[in-house]
Protein backbone atom coordinates (compact mmCIF):
# COMPACT_ATOMS: atom_id res chain seq x y z
CA UNK A 1 0.00 0.00 0.00
CA UNK A 2 1.48 3.31 -1.06
CA UNK A 3 1.56 5.97 1.65
CA UNK A 4 -0.32 9.14 0.63
CA UNK A 5 1.91 11.11 3.02
CA UNK A 6 4.91 10.21 0.88
CA UNK A 7 3.29 11.28 -2.39
CA UNK A 8 5.11 13.86 -4.47
CA UNK A 9 1.79 15.36 -5.54
CA UNK A 10 -1.50 15.06 -3.67
CA UNK A 11 -4.29 17.15 -5.13
CA UNK A 12 -8.05 17.37 -5.00
CA UNK A 13 -9.86 18.21 -8.24
CA UNK A 14 -13.30 19.71 -7.56
CA UNK A 15 -16.00 18.80 -10.08
CA UNK A 16 -15.95 21.03 -13.15
CA UNK A 17 -12.27 21.91 -12.87
CA UNK A 18 -9.21 20.91 -14.90
CA UNK A 19 -5.97 19.50 -13.55
CA UNK A 20 -2.70 19.13 -15.42
CA UNK A 21 0.51 17.57 -14.24
CA UNK A 22 3.87 16.33 -15.47
CA UNK A 23 4.39 12.64 -14.80
CA UNK A 24 7.99 11.53 -15.19
CA UNK A 25 9.00 8.18 -16.56
CA UNK A 26 8.82 5.62 -13.76
CA UNK A 27 6.44 7.63 -11.59
CA UNK A 28 3.04 6.30 -10.57
CA UNK A 29 -0.24 8.20 -10.91
CA UNK A 30 -3.27 7.26 -8.86
CA UNK A 31 -6.72 8.75 -9.50
CA UNK A 32 -9.24 8.20 -6.71
CA UNK A 33 -13.01 8.37 -7.14
CA UNK A 34 -13.50 9.82 -3.65
CA UNK A 35 -17.27 9.59 -3.35
CA UNK A 36 -18.04 7.15 -6.16
CA UNK A 37 -19.50 7.26 -9.68
CA UNK A 38 -17.46 10.23 -10.83
CA UNK A 39 -16.00 10.28 -14.33
CA UNK A 40 -12.35 11.38 -14.69
CA UNK A 41 -12.01 12.45 -18.33
CA UNK A 42 -8.30 12.12 -19.08
CA UNK A 43 -5.86 12.74 -21.95
CA UNK A 44 -2.12 12.06 -21.96
CA UNK A 45 0.50 13.85 -24.06
CA UNK A 46 4.07 12.73 -24.63
CA UNK A 47 6.46 15.21 -23.02
CA UNK A 48 10.17 15.81 -22.65
CA UNK A 49 11.92 15.58 -19.24
CA UNK A 50 11.19 19.28 -18.69
CA UNK A 51 7.47 18.65 -19.12
CA UNK A 52 7.22 20.27 -22.54
CA UNK A 53 4.49 18.59 -24.60
CA UNK A 54 5.16 17.14 -28.03
CA UNK A 55 1.80 17.94 -29.65
CA UNK A 56 2.38 15.32 -32.36
CA UNK A 57 2.22 12.45 -29.87
CA UNK A 58 -0.70 11.81 -27.56
CA UNK A 59 -2.92 9.09 -26.17
CA UNK A 60 -4.72 7.11 -28.87
CA UNK A 61 -7.89 5.23 -27.95
CA UNK A 62 -7.91 3.18 -31.15
CA UNK A 63 -4.24 2.14 -30.94
CA UNK A 64 -4.82 1.13 -27.32
CA UNK A 65 -7.95 -0.90 -28.10
CA UNK A 66 -6.48 -2.66 -31.14
CA UNK A 67 -3.28 -3.52 -29.26
CA UNK A 68 -5.20 -5.25 -26.47
CA UNK A 69 -8.01 -6.41 -28.78
CA UNK A 70 -10.51 -5.49 -26.12
CA UNK A 71 -12.85 -2.61 -25.31
CA UNK A 72 -12.31 -2.07 -21.60
CA UNK A 73 -9.31 -0.64 -19.79
CA UNK A 74 -8.16 -2.26 -16.56
CA UNK A 75 -5.04 -3.62 -14.83
CA UNK A 76 -2.51 -4.63 -17.48
CA UNK A 77 -3.89 -2.31 -20.15
CA UNK A 78 -1.11 -0.52 -21.94
CA UNK A 79 -2.08 2.99 -22.99
CA UNK A 80 -0.64 3.62 -26.46
CA UNK A 81 0.16 6.84 -28.23
CA UNK A 82 -0.77 7.62 -31.84
CA UNK A 83 2.90 6.87 -32.61
CA UNK A 84 2.58 3.28 -31.40
CA UNK A 85 4.47 3.83 -28.14
CA UNK A 86 3.28 2.75 -24.71
CA UNK A 87 2.81 5.91 -22.64
CA UNK A 88 1.55 4.28 -19.44
CA UNK A 89 0.52 0.89 -18.07
CA UNK A 90 -2.39 0.43 -15.68
CA UNK A 91 -0.91 -1.40 -12.68
CA UNK A 92 -3.80 -1.37 -10.20
CA UNK A 93 -7.54 -0.95 -10.53
CA UNK A 94 -10.10 -1.43 -7.78
CA UNK A 95 -12.94 -0.35 -10.09
CA UNK A 96 -12.43 -3.04 -12.73
CA UNK A 97 -13.39 -1.34 -15.93
CA UNK A 98 -12.87 2.04 -17.60
CA UNK A 99 -14.13 3.53 -20.86
CA UNK A 100 -12.29 5.06 -23.81
CA UNK A 101 -14.96 5.36 -26.52
CA UNK A 102 -17.49 7.60 -24.75
CA UNK A 103 -15.44 10.77 -25.26
CA UNK A 104 -15.89 13.99 -23.34
CA UNK A 105 -19.10 15.94 -23.01
CA UNK A 106 -19.29 19.31 -24.72
CA UNK A 107 -21.94 22.02 -24.92
CA UNK A 108 -22.39 21.04 -28.57
CA UNK A 109 -22.85 17.33 -27.92
CA UNK A 110 -25.25 18.22 -25.10
CA UNK A 111 -27.36 20.03 -27.70
CA UNK A 112 -27.62 16.73 -29.61
CA UNK A 113 -28.01 14.27 -26.77
CA UNK A 114 -30.41 16.26 -24.62
CA UNK A 115 -32.95 19.05 -25.08
CA UNK A 116 -31.46 22.26 -26.34
CA UNK A 117 -31.79 23.89 -22.91
CA UNK A 118 -28.77 21.81 -21.79
CA UNK A 119 -26.38 23.52 -24.21
CA UNK A 120 -25.34 26.19 -21.74
CA UNK A 121 -24.21 23.85 -19.01
CA UNK A 122 -20.60 23.32 -18.02
CA UNK A 123 -18.86 20.53 -19.96
CA UNK A 124 -15.63 18.55 -20.01
CA UNK A 125 -14.49 20.05 -23.29
CA UNK A 126 -14.74 23.56 -21.84
CA UNK A 127 -12.71 22.31 -18.88
CA UNK A 128 -10.12 20.66 -21.14
CA UNK A 129 -9.76 23.85 -23.18
CA UNK A 130 -9.33 25.89 -20.01
CA UNK A 131 -6.68 23.47 -18.72
CA UNK A 132 -4.76 23.72 -21.98
CA UNK A 133 -5.14 27.49 -22.27
CA UNK A 134 -3.88 28.13 -18.74
CA UNK A 135 -1.06 25.58 -18.64
CA UNK A 136 -0.17 24.59 -22.22
CA UNK A 137 -1.38 27.43 -24.44
CA UNK A 138 0.40 26.00 -27.48
CA UNK A 139 -2.29 23.31 -27.61
CA UNK A 140 -5.78 23.89 -28.96
CA UNK A 141 -9.03 22.03 -29.64
CA UNK A 142 -7.35 19.97 -32.36
CA UNK A 143 -5.20 18.47 -29.61
CA UNK A 144 -8.18 16.88 -27.88
CA UNK A 145 -8.42 13.28 -29.15
CA UNK A 146 -10.92 10.72 -27.81
CA UNK A 147 -10.02 10.52 -24.12
CA UNK A 148 -10.23 7.96 -21.32
CA UNK A 149 -13.16 8.10 -18.91
CA UNK A 150 -11.85 6.53 -15.76
CA UNK A 151 -14.63 5.08 -13.58
CA UNK A 152 -17.14 5.12 -16.45
CA UNK A 153 -18.77 2.05 -18.00
CA UNK A 154 -19.82 2.18 -21.68
CA UNK A 155 -20.54 -1.40 -22.73
CA UNK A 156 -21.02 -2.55 -26.33
CA UNK A 157 -23.03 -5.70 -27.09
CA UNK A 158 -22.06 -8.28 -29.75
CA UNK A 159 -24.71 -6.78 -32.07
CA UNK A 160 -23.10 -3.35 -31.76
CA UNK A 161 -25.44 -1.61 -29.30
CA UNK A 162 -23.70 0.92 -27.09
CA UNK A 163 -25.05 2.11 -23.75
CA UNK A 164 -24.09 4.10 -20.70
CA UNK A 165 -24.31 1.69 -17.80
CA UNK A 166 -23.08 3.38 -14.70
CA UNK A 167 -22.55 1.96 -11.29
CA UNK A 168 -19.24 0.08 -11.57
CA UNK A 169 -17.37 2.57 -9.42
CA UNK A 170 -17.84 3.38 -5.76
CA UNK A 171 -16.45 5.58 -2.97
CA UNK A 172 -12.67 5.32 -2.69
CA UNK A 173 -12.14 3.19 -5.80
CA UNK A 174 -8.97 4.02 -7.64
CA UNK A 175 -6.87 3.32 -10.69
CA UNK A 176 -3.10 3.47 -10.75
CA UNK A 177 -0.76 3.70 -13.70
CA UNK A 178 2.95 3.66 -14.28
CA UNK A 179 4.46 6.19 -16.69
CA UNK A 180 6.58 4.35 -19.29
CA UNK A 181 7.79 7.70 -20.61
CA UNK A 182 7.38 11.34 -19.59
CA UNK A 183 3.79 12.48 -20.05
CA UNK A 184 1.63 15.46 -19.30
CA UNK A 185 -1.74 14.50 -17.82
CA UNK A 186 -4.87 16.55 -18.51
CA UNK A 187 -7.93 15.71 -16.40
CA UNK A 188 -11.41 17.16 -16.48
CA UNK A 189 -13.46 16.28 -13.45
CA UNK A 190 -16.72 15.79 -15.33
CA UNK A 191 -19.51 18.29 -14.59
CA UNK A 192 -22.22 16.45 -16.60
CA UNK A 193 -25.66 16.65 -14.92
CA UNK A 194 -27.78 15.10 -17.65
CA UNK A 195 -26.82 11.42 -17.47
CA UNK A 196 -25.80 8.93 -14.81
CA UNK A 197 -22.03 9.14 -15.49
CA UNK A 198 -21.63 11.17 -12.28
CA UNK A 199 -24.75 9.80 -10.57
CA UNK A 200 -26.30 13.27 -11.23
CA UNK A 201 -24.08 14.66 -8.48
CA UNK A 202 -20.51 15.50 -9.59
CA UNK A 203 -18.04 15.05 -6.73
CA UNK A 204 -14.29 15.64 -6.21
CA UNK A 205 -11.50 13.45 -7.53
CA UNK A 206 -8.17 12.93 -5.83
CA UNK A 207 -4.85 12.66 -7.65
CA UNK A 208 -1.58 11.33 -6.22
CA UNK A 209 1.84 10.91 -7.80
CA UNK A 210 4.60 8.79 -6.30
CA UNK A 211 8.23 8.63 -7.38
Amino acid sequence: MKNPNLALVHAIIPAGEPWTGHLRRGQTLRIVDQQGNQSADTVFYAADPQGKINPQERYSATDTLVAQRSLYLTTGSRLYSNQGRVLLTIIADTCGRHDTIGGACSCESNSVRYPRSTQHMHSCRDTFLRGLRENHPELTKRDLPPNINFFMNVPVTPDGHLSFADGVSGPGKYVEMLAETDVVVLISNCPQLNNPCNAYNPTPLEVLIWI
Binding site: T62, Q83, V112, D159
Partner: protein
Protein backbone atom coordinates in the same frame (compact mmCIF):
# COMPACT_ATOMS: atom_id res chain seq x y z
CA UNK B 1 -34.55 13.40 -53.88
CA UNK B 2 -32.59 11.80 -56.72
CA UNK B 3 -31.93 8.18 -57.52
CA UNK B 4 -28.52 6.78 -58.27
CA UNK B 5 -28.77 6.93 -62.04
CA UNK B 6 -26.10 7.65 -64.67
CA UNK B 7 -27.34 11.22 -65.24
CA UNK B 8 -26.88 12.01 -61.52
CA UNK B 9 -23.26 10.87 -61.46
CA UNK B 10 -20.82 13.77 -61.34
CA UNK B 11 -17.54 11.91 -61.17
CA UNK B 12 -16.10 8.45 -60.56
CA UNK B 13 -12.70 6.90 -60.18
CA UNK B 14 -11.00 3.80 -58.81
CA UNK B 15 -8.59 4.27 -55.94
CA UNK B 16 -5.92 1.54 -55.89
CA UNK B 17 -5.37 -0.37 -52.67
CA UNK B 18 -2.97 1.45 -50.34
CA UNK B 19 -3.66 4.86 -51.84
CA UNK B 20 -5.14 8.05 -50.44
CA UNK B 21 -7.75 10.45 -51.75
CA UNK B 22 -9.50 13.64 -50.78
CA UNK B 23 -12.42 15.63 -52.10
CA UNK B 24 -14.51 18.64 -51.13
CA UNK B 25 -17.93 17.03 -51.02
CA UNK B 26 -20.61 19.68 -51.40
CA UNK B 27 -23.79 19.82 -49.39
CA UNK B 28 -26.49 17.70 -51.05
CA UNK B 29 -24.09 15.54 -53.02
CA UNK B 30 -23.15 12.01 -52.02
CA UNK B 31 -20.04 9.90 -52.06
CA UNK B 32 -20.68 6.27 -52.95
CA UNK B 33 -17.79 4.06 -51.84
CA UNK B 34 -17.88 0.70 -53.61
CA UNK B 35 -15.90 -2.32 -52.45
CA UNK B 36 -15.46 -3.36 -56.05
CA UNK B 37 -13.37 -6.53 -55.49
CA UNK B 38 -14.58 -7.47 -51.99
CA UNK B 39 -12.56 -7.39 -48.78
CA UNK B 40 -11.73 -3.66 -48.92
CA UNK B 41 -11.34 -1.28 -45.99
CA UNK B 42 -11.91 2.41 -46.70
CA UNK B 43 -10.74 4.50 -43.72
CA UNK B 44 -12.46 7.87 -43.83
CA UNK B 45 -12.08 11.21 -42.06
CA UNK B 46 -14.18 14.38 -42.42
CA UNK B 47 -13.28 18.03 -41.82
CA UNK B 48 -15.09 21.32 -42.17
CA UNK B 49 -13.02 22.90 -44.98
CA UNK B 50 -13.67 26.41 -43.60
CA UNK B 51 -12.58 25.54 -40.06
CA UNK B 52 -10.64 22.29 -40.01
CA UNK B 53 -10.63 22.10 -36.20
CA UNK B 54 -14.20 20.92 -36.72
CA UNK B 55 -13.95 17.26 -37.71
CA UNK B 56 -15.67 13.89 -37.55
CA UNK B 57 -15.84 12.83 -33.92
CA UNK B 58 -16.07 9.13 -33.13
CA UNK B 59 -17.36 9.31 -29.53
CA UNK B 60 -20.00 11.94 -30.29
CA UNK B 61 -21.19 9.89 -33.28
CA UNK B 62 -21.50 6.70 -31.24
CA UNK B 63 -23.11 8.40 -28.22
CA UNK B 64 -25.82 10.16 -30.21
CA UNK B 65 -26.91 6.92 -31.83
CA UNK B 66 -26.08 4.34 -29.13
CA UNK B 67 -24.13 2.25 -31.56
CA UNK B 68 -20.61 1.03 -32.24
CA UNK B 69 -21.49 -0.15 -35.76
CA UNK B 70 -22.46 2.35 -38.44
CA UNK B 71 -25.06 1.64 -41.12
CA UNK B 72 -28.02 3.07 -43.08
CA UNK B 73 -29.82 5.71 -41.05
CA UNK B 74 -26.80 6.75 -39.06
CA UNK B 75 -25.08 10.13 -39.21
CA UNK B 76 -21.43 11.03 -38.77
CA UNK B 77 -21.15 13.92 -36.32
CA UNK B 78 -18.58 16.63 -35.93
CA UNK B 79 -17.29 17.75 -32.55
CA UNK B 80 -19.55 20.81 -32.96
CA UNK B 81 -22.76 18.77 -32.70
CA UNK B 82 -23.48 18.91 -36.42
CA UNK B 83 -24.40 16.11 -38.79
CA UNK B 84 -21.60 16.20 -41.38
CA UNK B 85 -22.78 13.30 -43.52
CA UNK B 86 -25.71 10.87 -43.40
CA UNK B 87 -25.61 7.21 -44.43
CA UNK B 88 -28.32 6.96 -47.07
CA UNK B 89 -27.57 3.37 -48.01
CA UNK B 90 -25.34 0.50 -46.92
CA UNK B 91 -25.33 -2.94 -48.52
CA UNK B 92 -22.52 -4.19 -46.26
CA UNK B 93 -24.33 -3.67 -42.97
CA UNK B 94 -22.35 -2.22 -40.09
CA UNK B 95 -19.01 -0.47 -40.43
CA UNK B 96 -16.27 -0.19 -37.81
CA UNK B 97 -15.49 3.09 -35.98
CA UNK B 98 -13.16 1.59 -33.35
CA UNK B 99 -10.25 -0.12 -35.09
CA UNK B 100 -8.25 2.93 -36.14
CA UNK B 101 -5.59 2.43 -38.75
CA UNK B 102 -2.29 0.59 -38.93
CA UNK B 103 0.92 2.59 -38.68
CA UNK B 104 3.96 2.05 -40.87
CA UNK B 105 6.11 0.44 -38.18
CA UNK B 106 3.41 -2.10 -37.29
CA UNK B 107 2.82 -2.83 -40.98
CA UNK B 108 6.50 -3.53 -41.60
CA UNK B 109 6.78 -5.68 -38.47
CA UNK B 110 3.84 -7.80 -39.56
CA UNK B 111 4.15 -7.86 -43.34
CA UNK B 112 7.72 -6.86 -44.09
CA UNK B 113 9.18 -3.87 -45.89
CA UNK B 114 8.54 -3.13 -49.55
CA UNK B 115 10.22 0.04 -50.70
CA UNK B 116 9.34 2.10 -53.71
CA UNK B 117 12.86 1.37 -55.05
CA UNK B 118 11.97 -2.28 -55.58
CA UNK B 119 8.17 -2.40 -55.61
CA UNK B 120 7.39 0.86 -57.40
CA UNK B 121 3.82 1.91 -56.66
CA UNK B 122 2.99 -1.36 -54.92
CA UNK B 123 5.25 -0.30 -52.05
CA UNK B 124 3.94 -0.79 -48.53
CA UNK B 125 1.93 2.25 -47.48
CA UNK B 126 0.17 1.92 -44.16
CA UNK B 127 -3.24 3.48 -43.57
CA UNK B 128 -1.68 6.04 -41.24
CA UNK B 129 1.01 6.99 -43.73
CA UNK B 130 -1.59 7.34 -46.48
CA UNK B 131 -3.92 9.51 -44.35
CA UNK B 132 -1.05 11.70 -43.13
CA UNK B 133 0.11 12.13 -46.73
CA UNK B 134 -3.32 13.34 -47.79
CA UNK B 135 -3.83 15.53 -44.69
CA UNK B 136 -0.50 17.26 -45.33
CA UNK B 137 -1.91 18.66 -48.58
CA UNK B 138 -4.22 20.80 -46.46
CA UNK B 139 -1.66 21.81 -43.84
CA UNK B 140 -2.97 19.14 -41.47
CA UNK B 141 -0.84 16.64 -39.55
CA UNK B 142 -0.72 14.10 -36.70
CA UNK B 143 -2.62 16.51 -34.47
CA UNK B 144 -5.55 16.32 -36.87
CA UNK B 145 -5.54 12.56 -37.39
CA UNK B 146 -8.45 11.20 -35.33
CA UNK B 147 -9.98 7.71 -35.31
CA UNK B 148 -11.51 7.14 -38.77
CA UNK B 149 -14.55 5.16 -39.84
CA UNK B 150 -13.41 1.90 -41.41
CA UNK B 151 -15.94 1.10 -44.10
CA UNK B 152 -16.37 -2.57 -45.09
CA UNK B 153 -14.78 -3.77 -41.87
CA UNK B 154 -16.80 -5.18 -39.00
CA UNK B 155 -15.45 -5.54 -35.49
CA UNK B 156 -17.61 -7.50 -33.10
CA UNK B 157 -17.28 -6.73 -29.39
CA UNK B 158 -17.96 -9.81 -27.27
CA UNK B 159 -19.57 -9.46 -23.83
CA UNK B 160 -16.10 -9.78 -22.31
CA UNK B 161 -15.02 -6.76 -24.36
CA UNK B 162 -12.87 -8.87 -26.68
CA UNK B 163 -12.70 -7.72 -30.31
CA UNK B 164 -13.24 -10.22 -33.11
CA UNK B 165 -12.81 -9.30 -36.74
CA UNK B 166 -15.66 -10.36 -39.01
CA UNK B 167 -14.25 -13.39 -40.74
CA UNK B 168 -16.14 -13.16 -44.03
CA UNK B 169 -14.93 -10.20 -46.10
CA UNK B 170 -17.50 -7.89 -47.63
CA UNK B 171 -18.94 -9.07 -50.93
CA UNK B 172 -17.69 -7.59 -54.22
CA UNK B 173 -19.87 -4.63 -55.14
CA UNK B 174 -20.88 -3.74 -51.57
CA UNK B 175 -21.40 -0.02 -51.26
CA UNK B 176 -22.26 2.79 -48.89
CA UNK B 177 -23.72 6.20 -49.77
CA UNK B 178 -22.64 9.19 -47.67
CA UNK B 179 -24.58 12.38 -48.28
CA UNK B 180 -22.91 15.64 -47.26
CA UNK B 181 -25.27 17.62 -45.01
CA UNK B 182 -22.73 20.47 -45.02
CA UNK B 183 -19.68 21.01 -47.22
CA UNK B 184 -17.02 18.58 -46.01
CA UNK B 185 -13.44 17.74 -46.82
CA UNK B 186 -13.33 13.95 -47.21
CA UNK B 187 -9.95 12.30 -46.63
CA UNK B 188 -9.73 8.56 -47.11
CA UNK B 189 -7.45 5.66 -47.86
CA UNK B 190 -8.11 2.21 -49.31
CA UNK B 191 -6.28 0.15 -46.75
CA UNK B 192 -6.30 -3.09 -44.78
CA UNK B 193 -7.88 -3.15 -41.35
CA UNK B 194 -5.48 -3.50 -38.37
CA UNK B 195 -7.42 -6.56 -37.17
CA UNK B 196 -7.70 -8.17 -40.61
CA UNK B 197 -6.18 -11.65 -40.19
CA UNK B 198 -4.91 -11.95 -43.77
CA UNK B 199 -1.25 -13.01 -43.68
CA UNK B 200 -0.20 -10.63 -46.44
CA UNK B 201 -0.55 -6.89 -46.97
CA UNK B 202 -2.79 -6.57 -49.96
CA UNK B 203 -5.17 -3.65 -49.52
CA UNK B 204 -8.02 -3.77 -52.02
CA UNK B 205 -9.15 -0.94 -54.29
CA UNK B 206 -12.36 1.04 -53.85
CA UNK B 207 -14.48 2.76 -56.47
CA UNK B 208 -15.46 6.31 -55.57
CA UNK B 209 -18.55 7.88 -57.12
CA UNK B 210 -19.69 11.45 -56.45
CA UNK B 211 -23.35 11.89 -57.29
CA UNK B 212 -26.15 14.40 -56.96
CA UNK B 213 -28.44 12.87 -54.31
CA UNK B 214 -30.29 15.88 -52.82
CA UNK B 215 -32.16 13.96 -50.15
CA UNK B 216 -34.01 16.35 -47.81
CA UNK B 217 -33.97 15.71 -44.06
CA UNK B 218 -37.65 14.73 -44.18
CA UNK B 219 -36.79 11.89 -46.58
CA UNK B 220 -33.52 10.98 -44.91
CA UNK B 221 -33.39 7.77 -42.84
CA UNK B 222 -30.75 9.39 -40.63
CA UNK B 223 -33.12 12.23 -39.70
CA UNK B 224 -35.82 9.72 -38.83
CA UNK B 225 -33.42 7.56 -36.80
CA UNK B 226 -33.88 9.20 -33.39
CA UNK B 227 -34.53 12.54 -31.70
CA UNK B 228 -30.78 13.04 -31.21
CA UNK B 229 -30.26 13.01 -34.97
CA UNK B 230 -33.12 15.46 -35.44
CA UNK B 231 -31.31 17.83 -33.09
CA UNK B 232 -28.06 17.17 -34.99
CA UNK B 233 -29.71 18.05 -38.31
CA UNK B 234 -31.12 21.17 -36.62
CA UNK B 235 -27.59 22.18 -35.62
CA UNK B 236 -26.43 21.72 -39.22
CA UNK B 237 -29.39 23.80 -40.44
CA UNK B 238 -28.40 26.55 -37.97
CA UNK B 239 -24.91 26.54 -39.48
CA UNK B 240 -26.42 27.33 -42.89
CA UNK B 241 -28.50 30.31 -41.73
Amino acid sequence: MNLFTPENILYEETLPGGWNWSHHLKRGTSLRIVDSDGGACASLLLYNPKETSERYNMPDTLKAQFTARLTTGHALYSDMGRVMVSLLADTFGGHDPLGGTLDQKALEERFGTRRYQEARNAYHRSGRLALLTELAKYGLNERDLVPPVNFFARVKVLDSGEFTFHSAPSAPGSYVDLQAEMDVLVVLTATQHPLDPRPTWEPRPVQLVVWQSQVDPQQNPAFAYNEQNQRGFFNTALYHL
